[in-house]
Symmetry: C2
Subunit: 276 residues, 2 copies
């Protein structure tokens, strides 16, 4: 039986431990916070504290990007260990890993799951049930390493597995997740936001659900994917300005056309998704 270490016992790390332990794997864990470690031990998420990473065949790094980069660059892993991570940005990590020869095998992973709360108390073995997960492939990625990672992914009961390059991941994530969090965070800044909770049938809730981003988590994520996020954000601002211009110039035909363009794209996406 392969020995697995999970570094970082937050909601994601804790849930990975719990899910893999439930699936029958031998999982040890490490957290800088003694409380999270004790919680993981008492909840039965892990067998014991992971102290020496050279003892593990598989290491799953579940900490923020900068700390992940520190581990990938400086930690001593077992020769040939499979090392993965859960970061929401992938290109910076791959560039670091492939910058010099490593004694470990790296395949990046990004679980598309979470909650509005964080920490190991929010962790659960079913957090990933049916969720999407992305595996990033580089030129140097070995097929056998991807197959091995998929074994653990399936044990965690993810739904769909998407495979792509780190660059494609970062471009798509800039739109689907990073931009969405900025828009939601900006949306609540209207002076009309106070006392408006009765004035909505759901659109406002959708727009603002993820407004409460933890800036200490998200600022580094944005910094690690700066160019893609700038591109998406500038693009959205330019598009929004078109509606604003049409409204300001009382050009209702232009406004209608601008809305129609979005509707047609939306319908195309829906059709394409149905086919899959």
């Amino acid at each position: 039986m392969k020995k697995i270490a999970v570094i970082g016992l937050g909601i994601i790390g804790g849930s990975i431990c719990s899910a893999l332990t439930n699936a029958g794997y031998e999982v040890d864990g490490f957290s800088r916070g003694e409380e999270s470690l004790q919680y993981a031990l008492q909840a039965g998420y892990i067998r014991q504290k992971a102290t020496d990473l050279t003892q593990y065949d598989v290491v799953i790094i579940a900490v923020p990007p900068k700390a992940t980069m520190h581990y990938l660059d400086n930690a001593t892993f077992k020769d040939g260990a499979l090392v993965t991570d859960i970061c929401g940005v992938k290109s910076v990590l791959e560039r670091l890993v492939y910058a010099k020869p490593r004694n470990y095998r790296y395949v990046g992973m990004h679980p598309m799951a979470g909650k509005e709360t964080s920490g190991i108390r929010s962790a659960s073995s079913d957090l990933f049930d049916g969720a999407n997960v992305i595996i990033t492939r580089a030129e140097k990625t070995q097929e056998s390493d991807v197959i091995e990672l998929k074994e653990y992914i399936q044990a965690m009961r993810f739904g769909r597995i998407i495979e792509c390059t780190a660059e494609e991941h970062d471009k798509k994530i800039a739109l689907t997740s990073q931009l969405a969090h900025i828009v939601s965070n900006a949306y609540v800044k209207s002076p009309e936001v106070r006392g408006c909770e009765g004035f909505t049938g759901g659109s406002f809730q959708d727009m603002t659900r993820i407004a409460g981003v933890d800036e200490t988590v998200w600022t580094p994520l944005y910094a690690c994917n700066r160019e893609n996020v700038i591109k998406e954000l500038s693009g959205l601002i330019a598009h929004l300005q078109e509606y604003c211009d049409a409204l300001q110039s009382c050009d209702d035909e232009k406004l209608s056309q601008t809305l129609k363009e979005g509707r047609l794209i939306r319908e195309t996406i829906k059709r394409e998704n149905k086919k899959k």
Copy 2:
């Protein structure tokens, strides 16, 4: 028993008919489209076609803003009839109604319910179950008229009733609904939108759920609330530009502060809503 006429048999008009008929009221309906009328008759939503509006104690106008304005200004109602409407904009209607003496009593209404589909085939008696509804009050509004309207609102099984002026309604709706539809419609215009459906844990779905707005419905709604929508949209663009500037100047402290401002507002809203 008071006789009720519902003008317009789309999803909202049809659902009003069905809900009020179920509650024991005598409801007749009118639609320009013969098919909707036949559907409403066969489904038992209405007793018969409403041909002469002077026969009704209550008239509920459930058509788009321009047609609503046409009815409010030109139709012949029974003396003292209670007339209401379901439009998503309210100030333009009140200004029209109160521009000259009327032989009817007007109280505006805005049901915060709907579906992504439209037409009477999407109507159902439970569309309004627990939904918010707004009643607009003007200086001339009589308390007894509001009480009477609330009787029908309760029969339709709405949840919370919010009462405010038409001006306040239009300001809040510009943010909670009208801006949301523009943002969602603009969001899908990114070149990265194709093939991104696997790259999201839900944020992207939330942002784009209402992207497919019907421009023939929404353009007039925006036109009737132009100044408020411009104000919200300009405000959002200015806020989004702050994140963009911070990203472009690599000022992560500024970016963090900008995100924190939104998070704090979001937390304040959540706290306030919990108290209610």
